[in-house]
C-alpha cells in the first residue's frame, strides 16, 4: 500500500523534532492551519449536505451521538483495572479516547481521496457530534454528578470552543451557499486542503517528537494502550457505520473517528474540570502514541475492516 504524501510531512516533523532541530512553526501559523482545516472540512460537508435530504440523516445522527457517550465507558474500566491508574487519570484519558481528532479525520479524508473512495458528506456532521459527549462522560466519571463542577461555564467552553464553532460555522456556511457559492472559496479551502494538511502534520510531528521523553518515562502500559485501544474502538465505529448502511468510505471514516482521540478540546476541558488528572499522561497517550499510530497504521486497517464488513 502506497504511503500518502502528507504522512511524509509528519515523518519529517517527527525526525526533525527527535534530532532537536530548531525547526518550529510559529504558534500563530499553526493556529491558522487548524482554522483552515476545520473550515474546509465544515464547508465541504455543508456544501454537499445542501444537496440531500436531512431527514434521512437524523436517525444516524442520534446513533452516532449515542456512540459518543458509550465509547469512554469501554475505555474507563480498562485504564482503571488493568492500567491501575487513579480515577481522575482513567476518567480523563477515557474522555480523550471517546472524543475525536480532527487531524486524524483529515488524514483519513486525504487517504480515501487518494484511493478514489467516496464517502457520505454527513461524516463531517458526525465529527462535530462525536467531539463533545465523551468529554462530558469523562468529567462525570471523574467527578460524579453531585460535585462542585460548574457545568454551565464548562459546557459553554466546550460547545463554543474553536473547533466546534469553526466546524459548525463551516457546515452552515457551506450548506447556505451550496456548490455554486463555494466556487470563489475553492482555491483556499478545497484545492489547498492537502497543502495545509501537510504543513499541519509537519507541526504535529514536531509536537509528537516533544512527547518522546514522556513516553519513555511513562512505561509500557501507556504505549500498549495507545496502540491497542484504537482498534476495538474503531471496530465499534465500523460496525455502527455498517449497520447504518454507510458506504465503505463512510464506514472507514466512522471507524477512524471512533478510533481517534482528542488532543485539543479534551485536554483543555479536562485541565479545568479534572485538575487532579495528570495532563502529561493523557496527552502522551493521545498525541505521542495514538495519533501517529492512527495515521501510519490505523487508517489503512480501518479501511480494510470496512471493506471486509461490506464484503468487498
Amino acid at each position: 500500500m502506497s504511503i500518502d504524501p502528507v504522512i511524509l510531512f509528519f515523518l519529517l516533523g517527527l525526525i526533525a523534532g527527535l534530532a532537536r532541530s530548531d525547526l518550529r512553526l510559529p504558534p500563530a501559523i499553526y493556529e491558522l492551519l487548524s482554522i483552515l482545516l476545520l473550515l474546509a472540512i465544515g464547508l465541504k460537508g455543508g456544501m454537499e449536505l445542501s444537496q440531500q435530504q436531512m431527514s434521512s440523516v437524523l436517525p444516524q445522527m442520534v446513533a452516532v451521538l449515542a456512540m459518543g457517550f458509550i465509547l469512554p465507558l469501554f475505555v474507563y474500566p480498562v485504564l482503571l483495572y488493568i492500567g491501575r491508574l487513579g480515577r481522575p487519570d482513567a476518567a480523563s484519558i477515557a474522555g480523550h479516547y471517546g472524543s475525536v481528532s480532527v487531524g486524524t479525520y483529515a488524514v483519513a479524508v486525504a487517504f480515501l481521496a487518494s484511493a478514489g473512495i467516496a464517502f457520505e458528506p454527513h461524516l463531517a456532521l458526525f465529527l462535530v457530534l462525536l467531539e463533545v459527549p465523551a468529554i462530558v462522560v469523562g468529567i462525570l466519571l471523574a467527578r460524579g454528578i453531585h460535585s462542585g463542577t460548574r457545568w454551565g461555564k464548562l459546557l459553554h467552553e466546550i460547545f463554543f470552543g474553536k473547533s466546534i464553532v469553526l466546524l459548525v460555522g463551516g457546515l452552515l456556511i457551506g450548506w447556505a451557499i451550496g456548490p455554486e457559492g463555494i466556487k470563489p472559496l475553492e482555491p483556499l479551502f478545497i484545492d489547498s486542503f492537502k497543502g495545509v494538511l501537510a504543513l499541519f502534520l509537519l507541526e504535529m510531528g514536531l509536537i509528537a517528537a516533544s512527547q518522546a521523553r514522556e513516553i519513555l518515562q511513562r512505561g509500557i502500559f501507556l504505549v500498549a494502550f495507545g496502540v491497542i485501544a484504537p482498534i476495538p474502538l474503531a471496530i465499534c465505529g465500523a460496525l455502527l457505520g455498517w449497520s447504518l448502511d454507510l458506504s465503505v468510505g463512510g464506514t472507514a471514516l466512522l471507524a477512524t473517528l471512533a478510533g481517534s482521540c482528542s488532543y485539543i478540546a479534551a485536554p483543555a476541558a479536562m485541565r479545568i474540570a479534572v485538575p487532579e488528572a495528570n495532563p502529561a499522561l493523557s496527552l502522551t497517550a493521545s498525541l505521542g502514541v495514538t495519533f501517529p499510530f492512527n495515521i501510519f497504521v490505523g487508517i489503512p486497517i480501518y479501511l480494510e475492516i470496512a471493506k471486509r464488513l461490506h464484503g468487498a
Binding site: R271, P275, E276
Partner: protein
Amino acid sequence: MIDRNFKLLTVVTEAALENELTEALDRLGASGYTIVNARGRGSRGVRDAGWSTSSNIRVEVICDALMAEKIADYLQEHYYRDYAMVLFISDVGIMRPEKF
C-alpha cells in the same frame, strides 16, 4: 513623587488557567492586571509554549499589601495542589497611587 507602599504580585502558571484567574482577580477586587505569554522550566518540566497545554502565562498585579496577601492566599488554596504555579511578591514604587 514616588509612592513606595505598593506590591507587585507576579504569578507564573498554566495558560489553561487564564480565564479562571482573571475572573478570580476581578472578584477579589484587583484594580487591573497584565498578562504575557511565558515559557521556561521548573519542577513540572519544560514549559515551552509549543502546545496549548504546555504554555505558561505570567500575570502581574500591582496592589497594596493587603490585596496582595488576599490574592496570594486565594491562589494557594485553589490552585497550588493541581497546577503548575509560582507566585512571588515584590515591593514597587509607583507614581500614581490613585490608579491602583
